[in-house]
């Protein structure tokens, strides 16, 4: 796909709008204004209008956006209608939960399979998804042309896994190992350190 001309911070907010709009029902009316989206999400109206302008969603004076059209514009912009596959590396507790997690489908993402370096785990299945031996990773990725990966291995293994995924053609990695990964050239990475997030919240009380 083509890199889009949108600031990352705006891009990150698009799923927030989409989640909110999807949570509304027909009873909430045909139209929705940027002001009511902003109020519901606790954001500024100008910001909301600016973010939504990156998609093809354009509001109409006085009435706002047609809700279903705005949902379609956001889904289209985010590529939800483009079927794409991801792999998961590391079928420990968190990895298994992510395999079973249904939330990816609404963005058009299917987890194809998982990989684990523990031979005892290989051959197993979670939610119908096969756990394959780690040494098959490169071959499977190349064959299927998969560009997305989720990493849920221990911190000590994560950087090496990241490099091998990049060599096998992966372009984007969502990393749950509690370590900040160095991104190989041409690869985008987002680190989510669950425990650190909770520790930071504790410090904000």
């Amino acid at each position: 796909m083509m890199k889009k001309n949108i600031p990352e911070i705006s891009l990150q907010r698009l799923p927030v709008y989409l989640n909110y709009l999807r949570s509304l029902s027909g009873d909430d009316g045909k139209y929705i204004s940027s002001g009511s989206i902003a109020a519901a999400l606790g954001m500024g109206e100008v910001l909301v209008r600016k973010d939504l302008a990156y998609t093809s969603g354009t509001g109409r004076p006085k009435v706002g956006y047609v809700r279903t059209e705005l949902i379609a514009a956001l889904e289209d912009y985010l590529g939800c209608n483009v079927k794409k596959r991801a792999v998961l590396v590391g079928a420990g507790e968190l990895g298994r939960a992510l395999l079973a997690y249904g939330g990816f489908e609404k963005y058009g993402i299917t987890i194809a399979c998982a990989f684990d370096s523990d031979p005892a785990k290989a051959g197993g299945e979670v939610a119908g998804k096969l756990i394959r031996p780690a040494n098959e990773t490169a071959a499977v990725l190349a064959k299927e042309g998969i560009k997305l990966a989720i990493v849920a291995v221990p911190a000590s293994a994560a950087q090496e896994v990241c490099f091998s995924l990049a060599r096998a053609g992966v372009k984007a990695i969502l990393n749950f190992a509690p370590v900040r990964l160095k991104a190989p050239d041409g690869v985008v990475i987002r680190d989510i350190d669950v425990a650190a997030n909770l520790a930071v919240l504790y410090n904000m009380i």
Copy 2:
């Protein structure tokens, strides 16, 4: 605890430094400079020095920080040595994985127990942690004085759960439900939408 005089963005980076410093071994030398931390993490040296100055960690001219002292300063600042308990609400796939996840302990956080509205799940255990019926939430939180909660319920239930946790004295919520929660007064919330993060990455390829 007392609110600290540190920008949230700096606070969020402290666990990144801590993870990195913990990953080094004695063989990496007694001292570490802000420059080498910055290089390892792909950040600016001035930023690193500024962030670390919020903790009591102070570098020495020419040699830098004593690594073990800097680790101790970060752990102290983040409250890792203060034992605190959290609860988890929603013992579905993701919730169960979080119960089994060992990463919280290194920040001094123990998950005391989980709650689930499904009577079939109540009474069960994951990783030695009891799943209790949802209607016991307020009583347990009040009795134990717990201020931290992790929410892993479906999106449609998350806001109501958040309000009841706040009424029961919770001050910080880490939310995995794919919905942006409105924070009740005096409560800090961090939303982690796993699927949205992967979808955003796909758009950055």
